[in-house]
């Protein structure tokens, strides 16, 4: 079957690294979720909520997310171009540099070196490291695609290319800063303008880290694992172009009712509403693909990961635009609703799709079958329950918070002090921690399954030799 020698070592290295950073990020997530209702767990100076939260978000977005994206994109690119990576040694260096950068990133964030730009907290020396990492990735991806042995570029390659381009532009522009020492810098942008640049970046980090590369996985591994072809090629073309066009206009929905000029806010809201269409283009494509044989949900254990994953993507992309509307934003902005929204995307769509892709890749690399479908099913149900419980709890808290902040007495005075509102969150925050524990246990089943599959694969290779 394998006509070509693919560089599986690098792919595997990225996958295992990303799982490692994922565990770190998830455990810190649990810790800060407890800090929300038990402030005694803040241990200054390194382990207060303000510092740990950025380690959590960066660890998961860059460590787990980008790590998995690098590895799985390399895998997809090699398969779809029918050739090994153009620069395999560079890819190996990429892997080592990635791990060094993430380790330094975590340490620097613990130490409080923080640009205070959400999801762009890393200080300038690490930013340069990130750009180098990205250039290496771009060179290898483009080089391999240009020298490909399959003329037609499949959908997943479009999404990988868009990711490479967009992230480069976003990351570089938003991190432009004037250094004031090795560990401190001041943004090139000030005030209202910096807010606009930051959320143009912030929202598109979601678009081009948590959406397009994950869609690349979805479009590749769903047909691969089910054996069913993608329902509509035309729909995927429309969805792709309208998605990468519309995303860049929407950042200002994070700044509704702030001093940002109104026209930018309104434009952001309008394009956010439009974004439902391309998002659901992919959702529909996914459903109709499996729709030709729904039995796959039962007979192929990976199908349900992909279908639930794309379902949460679909829900996410309806909820997001709803939040952008001014009247809804009024109520839920700045509340726990927003983390609830984000975690449906990350714990539901991103993690499920990525985990399923890894379930597909690891046995393929080792020429074996998955260690246990049963364990994979337990993993599935635990992360599903954990994530639903997490998100729903946060939505309820968010609505409650927003409503209490707005509540007035008959004479027009405010009904609740800030403290009275805060206290009502505690039971929900405790529930959220429990949900997080359930999700984490689910992820441990996943890791165990992958570990055992690798062990099985190694034993098999040893016996063949």
């Amino acid at each position: 079957m394998n006509d070509y020698q693919y560089d599986h070592q690098t792919v595997k290295g990225f996958i295992i690294s990303s799982i490692f950073w994922g565990v770190v990020g998830i455990l810190i997530g649990l810790w800060i979720s407890i800090q929300m209702w038990k402030p005694e767990l803040n241990i200054p100076p390194f382990f207060t909520f303000g510092r740990l939260r950025v380690v959590h978000t960066n660890g998961l977005a860059f460590g787990l997310g980008i790590g998995a994206i690098f590895g799985i994109s390399y895998y997809i690119v090699m398969r779809l171009t029918k050739r090994p990576l153009l620069f395999p040694k560079l890819a190996r260096f990429h892997l080592y540099l990635f791990n060094a950068a993430i380790a330094l990133a975590a340490l620097s964030l613990f130490a409080g070196m923080n640009q205070t730009l959400e999801y762009a907290e890393l200080e300038w020396p690490l930013d340069i490291g990130v750009v180098i990492l990205w250039v290496i990735f771009a060179v290898n991806v483009f080089g391999t695609i240009i020298k490909r042995k399959e003329e037609q570029m499949y959908i997943s390659l479009w999404y990988v290319i868009a990711t490479v381009i967009a992230v480069a532009v976003l990351y570089i522009v938003n991190n432009l800063a004037v250094p004031a020492g090795l560990t401190k810098s001041y943004s090139l942008f000030a005030g209202v303008n910096s807010a606009n640049v930051q959320w143009w970046y912030g929202h598109n980090a979601v678009g081009f880290v948590f959406t397009t590369p994950i869609l690349a996985m979805f479009y590749y591994f769903l047909p691969k694992s089910t054996g069913l072809p993608i329902y509509s090629h035309r729909l995927s073309i429309i969805a792709f172009w309208s998605l990468v066009f519309a995303y860049l206009w929407t950042g200002a929905h994070h700044l509704v009712y702030t001093p940002l000029p109104d026209w930018i806010q309104t434009l952001g809201i309008v394009f956010t509403l439009f974004l439902i269409a391309p998002s659901w283009g992919s959702v529909i494509n996914g459903y109709y693909t499996v729709g030709s044989d729904w039995n796959k949900m039962q007979t192929n254990y990976l199908t349900k990961f992909f279908i639930l994953g794309i379902t949460f993507y679909g829900l996410q992309t309806v909820q997001g635009p709803t939040q952008a509307i001014r009247v809804v934003s009024q109520l839920i902005h700045y509340t726990d609703w927003v983390p609830g929204h984000v975690h449906m995307g990350t714990m539901g769509w991103v993690t499920m799709t990525t985990a399923a892709s890894i379930y597909y890749i690891i046995p393929k690399i080792y020429g074996t079958e998955i260690y246990s479908i049963k364990v994979a099913n337990i993993h599935f149900w635990l992360v599903l329950i954990g994530q639903l419980m997490f998100s729903i709890t946060m939505w309820i808290t968010g609505i409650q918070q927003g409503a209490l902040w707005k509540a007035t007495n008959p004479d027009g005075s405010l009904k609740y002090t800030f403290m009275e509102g805060l206290v009502k969150n505690y039971p929900f925050w405790q529930l959220r921690t429990i949900a997080g524990v359930i999700f984490t246990v689910g992820m441990l089943f996943f890791i165990y399954n992958i570990y055992m599959t690798i062990r099985k694969g190694k034993a098999l290779a040893a016996s063949r030799a």
Binding site: K38, P39, G50, T116, L117, E118, I165, S185, A195, L422
Partner: protein, 299 residues
Amino acid sequence: MAGELYKKPIMFAVVATVVILIGTIVTMFYPMFTEGMHPRLENLKPYTALQLAGKDIYMREGCNNCHTQTVRPLKTEVMRYGEYSKAGEFAYDRPFLWGSKRTGPDLARIGGKYPDAWHYKHFENPQAFFAQSNMPKYGWLQNGKLATAEMEAHMKVNGFPYSKEEIADLASKTELDALVAYMQAIGSAVPRMAAQAAAVAMTEEKNPLEGDKDAHERGEDIYERDCESCHGDDGKGGIGPSLRDNIWLNKEGDISDGRIYEIIANGTANGMPPYAGQLDKDKIWSLVSYIRHEQRKSK
């Protein structure tokens, strides 16, 4: 014809770049060159070295993860926090610190709301003010010294004016001093709201709860929640003045019930925050009852 695009990676990448750049240019790049994106209020002052050191600490500790610094132009929000945020207030913030989550309250109008002593005590032990607060303690910042050479470099990068003495003075300050100085500077370019003062003027009014035997007990509950951390047990005084003696606003002699009501509702220029937006009439009058009750007890 269009199908050819999917066979030409370089062409594809060029088209994708253009498509991505359109929204980028319209909503991010173009506005950058319009005046509307660089507003500055006339009385907005650059940060002093101590204030900037405090802002650096605010950024280092990730305070923005729990606190916003934008009051939205919504009725209840203005009542809770003060005047809504103006575009021209943030010209010296690189980057902006508006935040995205209010686990704790908004801080856009924190400057001048409380006296320095309140902030020191609150940073050291937030739970002493609000027993159920989930804010971490930051008293440990007292042990942090400010680095003068570093701060001079920071002032230069920001282009803020400073004097040599100002920088030298930092050596005697702690990180907590700097953070408190920053707190007091936030939002100071916009005058504190005087709107409610006009609405609440009742010097002549009598306490309608007079004769209500339970009023002072209801007042006590509110007192313990909102007032005790500054005015001490039973109104004996602390950060704020005693409420049991005969000195009001630094002057000997009693004042009317209505005047006490006004002070609670409108606050004072000396660090008493206004409560008109948070407490309804009945609650404020019950506080007046409670204060009178304590005064009588102490006589």
